[in-house]
């Protein structure tokens, strides 16, 4: 560490404050919009305030709260599937060399490169034949298209730094394959796993095109409602819904913060030695 500790502490505090501002500032106009009864240029603040938009959003009739539940459910299921597929795939990519590995890596990135609408059009035909359109299961599955690449790539990076020696050691000490995973592999990959799952969850909960195409308007998530009101010019309600859609991300972030901060007991000793 160079420079005085006071200076470095001040810099850390400053960068923290800037980060919070950068994250919170864009949300402030939403708060104002959601509480305004008309907000015209060049007024700095609305002339009149109302809770009408919030009342509409929070009352059952609008379906916003229900769609918050659907959003959370779809994101949770999509994340779970992404973890179940992404961890083994990431392990294979990170630990082993095999023929065509570079091709596989490129193919995994492909869904992120191809525009979502193109993917959705193609998949729609397939899902139609499988009877998966207009169903929650179909939406969950199609959310794997944008989430699985993130999950797999994060896990590949995690496993590239993973020493499988610990697993061999655990096995010959008498641990079954499941015990090896539970007690040795999982603690080692947990920080990466949580990061990847967080990505997957956030990507899923903000999907619009894929949900609309495959869900056919029957599976209503927050982004769908949000776009509907924004398109209808109801800036007050759209702003309130916008603030509600911050909730899923905030929720998982709070739940996982202890894993990401490096203070979780499972992570002690993994720091620089």
């Amino acid at each position: 560490m160079t420079g005085s500790p006071r200076l470095s502490r001040a810099l850390v505090a400053l960068s923290g404050a800037l980060l919070v501002l950068w994250l919170v500032l864009p949300l402030l106009p939403l708060v104002v919009w959601s509480l305004a009864r008309g907000w015209r240029f060049p007024d700095l603040l609305p002339a009149d305030w109302t809770l009408a938009a919030w009342a509409h959003v929070l009352l059952p009739g609008s379906g916003v709260i229900e769609s918050l539940g659907v959003t959370l459910l779809v994101a949770a299921l999509a994340t779970l599937l992404a973890v179940l597929a992404g961890v083994p795939a990431g392990r294979a990519l990170g630990l082993y060399r095999f023929r065509g590995k570079a091709v596989v890596e490129t193919m995994i990135l492909a869904p992120l490169i191809v525009p979502g609408i193109a993917v959705a059009l193609g998949l729609h035909a397939v899902f139609l034949r499988l009877g998966l359109t207009n169903t929650l299961a179909g939406v969950v599955l199609v959310h794997l298209v944008p989430t699985l690449p993130y999950m797999t790539l994060v896990m590949a990076a995690v496993f590239a730094n993973h020493d499988p020696g610990h697993e061999a050691q655990a096995r010959c000490l008498g641990a079954t394959p499941f015990q090896v995973f539970r007690h040795v592999t999982l603690p080692a990959i947990l920080p990466g796993l949580v990061t990847g799952a967080l990505f997957a969850f956030l990507v899923s909960s903000s999907q619009y095109v894929l949900t609309l195409m495959i869900g056919g308007g029957r599976v209503v998530t927050l982004p769908l409602i949000l776009y509907a009101y924004a398109g209808a010019g109801r800036d007050d309600i759209a702003s309130a819904i916008g603030l509600v859609s911050v909730l899923p991300g905030l929720l998982v972030l709070l739940l996982t913060a202890r894993f990401l901060s490096g203070r979780h007991p499972d992570l002690r000793g993994l720091g620089p030695t």
């Binding site: 010959c172 000490l173 394959p177």
Partner: protein
């Protein structure tokens, strides 16, 4: 006390041109400590992984007390490997690391704790159970890894270069600890090393592997006195290797005619003798005259290099005897017949 038998064990890694292990046959008596010695890349660690069940051989068999264990998975086989770099689980305390195998077997917590404490005492880490691996020194980590393996009472203990990562002063301590604990518990142990002095100091028997092949399997002193071939002699630091022909118990070579101990068949051979068996002065048998070309004082011994025509030999003498000899002198030496050994060419 489990007898470990390897029969014609062979393994070729995918894509490798030569086998990592070429039909290795080895019978390790129960309760003994056998050093698997050889240069880097000779297949030593491969043998350990095969015995532990972490690899499967292409050919051959591994048996514990005569029963093949090839179909037993690593977790049920009862052979525990201790890796070169300790590999303590970083997210567990020392006590949790040592108790790992017992917890996986579902032993009650109280019994696990008692056995872990006893084991920590045995490897001289008492009271450090709550430490994290990152808070332990290299030597302590090595002892912890040993304790973690011993606590599950393995049938076979497999040590992969356990001294390699230690400082010189810790190496002897760890070596003595391994030997003491191994004798105490009577666990059949395979100790992999590339250092022949380490192997000689610790092992009951040494198996020398070069290029995936077993070259000699014998008691430590045999490798110095009776090496199987020139490669073995060279690995054990043998400098005096001279070609010649054996005729009726007499070796005819660059040093003249030397009387051999009984038992060598006639025919071409390679003569070898340890530098420290060479004596100064004449004797009724095997007297040789040579010119001193170099003298190196090594503390307990003085090493002389000598020339006899084109042939160079080495002798190691007590320093006070060697003091009278200077480079350029012609000296009379004798090679006692009992110190001579002839290897096949």
């Amino acid at each position: 006390m489990t007898r470990l038998t390897l029969s014609a064990l062979g393994l070729t890694y995918p894509g490798a041109a030569r086998p990592a292990l070429d039909r290795l046959t080895l019978d390790l008596p129960g309760g003994g400590l056998t050093a698997l010695l050889g240069p880097s890349g000779c297949g030593k660690t491969t043998v350990l992984k095969l015995v532990a069940g972490l690899l499967s051989p292409d050919t051959g068999d591994i048996a514990f007390d005569g029963r093949s264990v090839l179909s037993d998975r690593a977790e049920t086989r009862g052979a525990v490997m201790v890796f070169q770099n300790a590999l303590l689980f970083p997210h567990m305390t020392l006590a949790e690391n040592v108790g790992f195998g017992l917890r996986m077997r579902g032993l009650p917590a109280a019994e696990t704790a008692a056995r872990v404490d006893a084991m920590l005492d045995l490897v001289r880490l008492p009271g450090l159970g709550r430490r994290r691996p990152s808070e332990l020194s290299g030597g302590q980590q090595g002892r912890a890894a040993l304790a973690r393996a011993l606590v599950v009472e393995p049938k076979v203990l497999l040590l992969d270069e356990p001294l390699a990562n230690l400082d010189a002063h810790l190496r002897g301590e760890m070596r003595d600890l391994i030997r003491m604990v191994q004798k105490d518990l009577g666990i059949t142990t395979v100790f992999v090393t590339h250092d022949q002095e380490e192997a000689v100091a610790i092992a009951d028997r040494i198996a020398l592997l070069i290029g995936g092949q077993l070259r000699q399997y014998d008691r430590p002193e045999a490798f110095y006195r009776r090496p199987a071939d020139a490669g073995v002699a060279a690995f054990f630091g043998g400098r005096n290797i001279l070609p010649g022909i054996v005729t009726d118990g007499v070796f005819d070579g660059p040093l003249g005619r030397l009387t051999l101990p009984a038992g060598f068949p006639s025919g071409p051979g390679l003569l070898t003798f340890r530098p420290e068996t060479v004596r100064l002065g004449p004797a009724p048998l095997n007297t040789v005259e040579a010119v001193v070309t170099g003298r190196l004082y090594l503390g307990t011994l003085t090493r002389l290099t000598l020339a006899l025509g084109e042939t160079r030999i080495e002798a190691a003498l007590a320093p006070d005897l060697a003091e009278a000899v200077a480079p350029g002198d012609t000296v009379t030496l004798n090679l006692p017949p009992a110190s001579l050994w002839v290897m096949p060419t």
